[in-house]
Subunit: 507 residues, 2 copies
């Protein structure tokens, strides 16, 4: 029996209704003829073909009657990727050996990854040939700043080439990005609305949260549709000069979406991976001019000036290699921006700014105006030093808010963000001045409350650095979908009471 004969063995695909989330899973009975003759065992990686589609799955062996003998069970991820119609049959084959893992092993031993090695790895990742274990090893091998400039450039290029690259047919296509690590720093919808209102083309694709309580796509999704096809996205941009969508649904840098899932589980953000992730999305989105906001602070993602300068250098260099003009700004990353932390809570802050609500968070507004101003200058709309003023006028006049609503309408309609119903307020335990806010603990607490999985969950801060508070004054409020999650977050807060530090005023 040759490998071709194996492929001629036909099995009935059966949807198991099991969501294993991660890698696609196939289920075979232990006494199934293919399982026995091929020597497959649990955790084997096998190729499953239905029609003209082939995917690689991890095998689970079934010893019960939840599956028939001539059946192959498929998890939700496997079923959807195979796109099975009635009556189709599945054939199996051994998975070709994963040769590109030798490049990962070589990297582990301190050797540089070659351009060919990087391409081979990314090709295999996008084809689904890496299981979760291999993906974790790849990310870990490249983490800790172990990729040099060439390696990051090759990784980024390989990631761009592995997906679609959009051509907008316009000379200047603007983009902006914030490196995150700063809870609540949701300037993007405001910046995009201002830039588009001023006439710049800015088709913004955003990612969901990696290790934070909310990404821009998560926040936008509480107000409008963000999962859109490329055609729909083009239609929106044609009409409004801008869009605010999730990048994952338009297959821009599909490798990035696969890697991000494992990065999230490991809670690691590596420098090279971060640069490749950001710039591959930008290049694939057809951007020509990109402004990158790097918040710097002791508990932000980038902790010091030196690290920010290095990152800035990498971003500009890799951007240039990909034909993009990248400008970076370093901003204050010492505390959260705005009040809300979590998708809907951040969306509420964004709306307050766009509506010129007097209760809108000043810091979020000023940060957005700073970034928008830089972008207007980078795009050649405002003269050097005049961008901030133009941005401010656009916001105050209401034109930015109108543009935002128009974008949401074009994407499928606007809705008000919904905050989670289970709440609990926390008050100051002493009188004094707020001297420290630990961004990492704030993020962690919002995540434990359910963000970003539960879009209405998170927390709303009542204070900022330097505020004077009395004993008993409100400090922050927690929001969760279920009492269990609220209790879990509160338990964590009890164990980490130094999230917000209040010191007595010196006399």
């Amino acid at each position: 029996m040759s490998p071709d004969d194996i492929a001629r063995t036909r099995l009935r695909p059966r949807r198991m209704g099991i969501d294993s989330h991660s890698e696609p899973v196939a289920f075979l009975r232990a006494d199934c003829h293919v399982c026995r003759s091929e020597g497959f065992e649990a955790q084997s990686r096998i190729s499953v073909t239905v029609g003209d589609k082939t995917i690689i799955t991890t095998l689970n062996i079934v010893y019960s009657d939840i599956l028939g003998k001539g059946d192959i069970g498929l998890s939700e991820a496997a079923w959807k990727r195979l796109d099975i119609s009635n009556g189709e049959v599945a054939t199996l084959s051994h998975t070709p050996s994963l040769d590109s893992m030798s490049h990962v092993r070589s990297k582990l031993y301190g050797h540089r990854l070659s351009r060919e090695g990087m391409e081979a790895i990314v090709t295999d990742v996008v084809a689904g040939r890496y299981g979760d274990i291999q993906l974790a090893a790849l990310l870990t091998a490249c983490a800790g700043n172990r990729l040099d400039l060439s390696e990051i450039t090759w990784l980024t290029t390989a990631m761009v080439n592995a997906g679609h690259r959009i051509d907008w047919g316009r000379e200047k296509v603007m983009d902006k990005h914030c490196l995150g690590g700063l809870p609540g720093n949701r300037t993007t919808p405001i910046v995009v609305s201002i830039a588009a209102a001023c006439g710049l083309t800015i088709p913004k694709t955003s990612s969901r949260a990696i290790t934070s309580p909310a990404g821009t796509a998560d926040a936008m999704e509480t107000m409008t549709r963000v999962a859109m096809s490329l055609e729909d996205m083009k239609r929106v941009v044609e009409k409004e000069n801008a869009c605010l969508v999730w990048g994952g649904s338009v297959s821009l840098s599909p490798a990035d979406d696969i890697l991000i899932r494992i990065e999230r589980a490991l809670d690691i953000d590596s420098e090279g991976q971060m640069v490749a992730s950001v710039l591959s999305k930008k290049a694939a989105a057809g951007s020509t001019h990109v402004l990158i906001d790097i918040p710097v602070g002791p508990t932000a993602k980038v902790r010091g000036r030196q690290a920010a300068d290095h990152l800035s250098h990498l971003l500009k260099s890799v951007g240039e290699a990909l034909g993009m003009q990248v400008r970076t700004i370093q901003t204050d990353g010492t505390q959260p921006i705005g009040y809300g932390v979590g998708p809907a809570l951040e969306a509420a802050d964004v709306l307050a700014v766009l509506r010129n609500d007097p209760r809108a968070p000043t810091d979020l507004r000023e940060r957005a105006l700073l970034v928008a101003g830089e972008l207007l200058e980078l795009g050649g709309i405002a003269a050097h030093g005049k961008g901030n003023r133009m941005a401010r006028e656009t916001l105050h006049s209401g034109r930015a808010g109108e543009k935002f609503m128009a974008i949401c309408e074009a994407q499928g309609g606007f809705r008000e963000p919904q905050i989670s119903p289970c709440t609990r307020g926390f008050t100051a335990r002493r009188t004094g001045i707020v001297t420290h806010i630990n961004n990492r603990l704030v993020s962690r607490l919002a995540k434990l409350a359910g963000a970003p999985g539960a879009s209405g969950a998170g927390l709303r801060l009542a204070v900022h650095l330097g505020d004077r508070v009395e004993h008993g004054d409100p400090m922050f409020e927690l929001f969760a979908e279920s009492p269990g999650e609220l209790a879990y977050a509160m338990e964590f807060h009890e164990a980490h009471p130094d999230m917000i530090v209040i010191e007595e005023e010196s006399v």
Copy 2:
């Protein structure tokens, strides 16, 4: 509802009959009350408690009727670890956050792991708190020789402390180990038989294959029972001064068994992990004197003299820190030893040597006598330089063979190893001298044929380095359980014809 309330929600455990091999999996209906109120989603890590046992599982969400609404489905691994009796109920809780991963992340960024960090990691690994993704990240972070001597010592100590440590109540307890990477180098059963026949105490625990086609435990299992309780093992050693068992079943260094599964999937062997793996097993097994054979060769696990010297230094230093006297010998690692590669095929070679069969592989016999001689000297039974002769006499007299059979009898009875039925011979494509044998390709081919999962699979070499062969002479024979696997291995061999290099004789 507090975390305590969640734990009061009771679910009926149901055995799904699904072998997911890796981490234990729990299945919950999407519309189950706990799932909804707790906000659990696919790939959540949740704690499941039944009676006095709690395990951590990865969650799969079920959308079909293979599970009832008040049920919690459990994979085979989860079911077995919870050891469920009829009528028991299961309670769930959120998994405490995995704080020790912060040490892994710190290591990624080049910081040294502290003793406390290493202990926290190993404690969490043994408690099953690391999922496959986290285990892969841990192994990758420590691979590539990134652990220094102190870190390896702490890792080893933590691994020893996380399991049982056997006290034999004897002054000298011998052990030997071969660092592997040399296909077919199955000296252990011969060496143990000789040493025990000469009066040394040598309770040998071996591991199964990590990245090789066979470990000593795999080979021994084709001849006798190797999965034994500590009590049974003690009874065997009491009677015969020796045993030849699998270390995994007696809970010696349970962390090692968990890590090895992921190392195997990643096909990585890291230096620090290797030292910790070997010495934690030795220390836990109560060894006082350990001889370690390091085969050195361009395609062996250790490729050069310098690497071998470094490894030797690490092994002796870490051994000393754990109170063991470690001696190392460096041996020729340029080619496979014996003829067979694969559990049963290697067992057949071992038996031929022990039975003084004239067709027994000379190289395996001489290698075993070299190691046994060193061990007799280390154990103080033979004077310096006299060990090899004593070993040879013990083998030739038949006393080693008798001791081997006695050990097998004490472990539950001896059986002849069974070779797989599907075979295919390969012959020389030209006349000349065998100048290179690529150990890695030999191992890979034996694994593709099914070893070590199929114990009778692998290959049998007909030639060694320096042999003169005629065109058409037999070179090696492949053995597999199924035609599919045989075809798969043959396909690989076609793609890598340089496994055995024959060069024309210079005139």
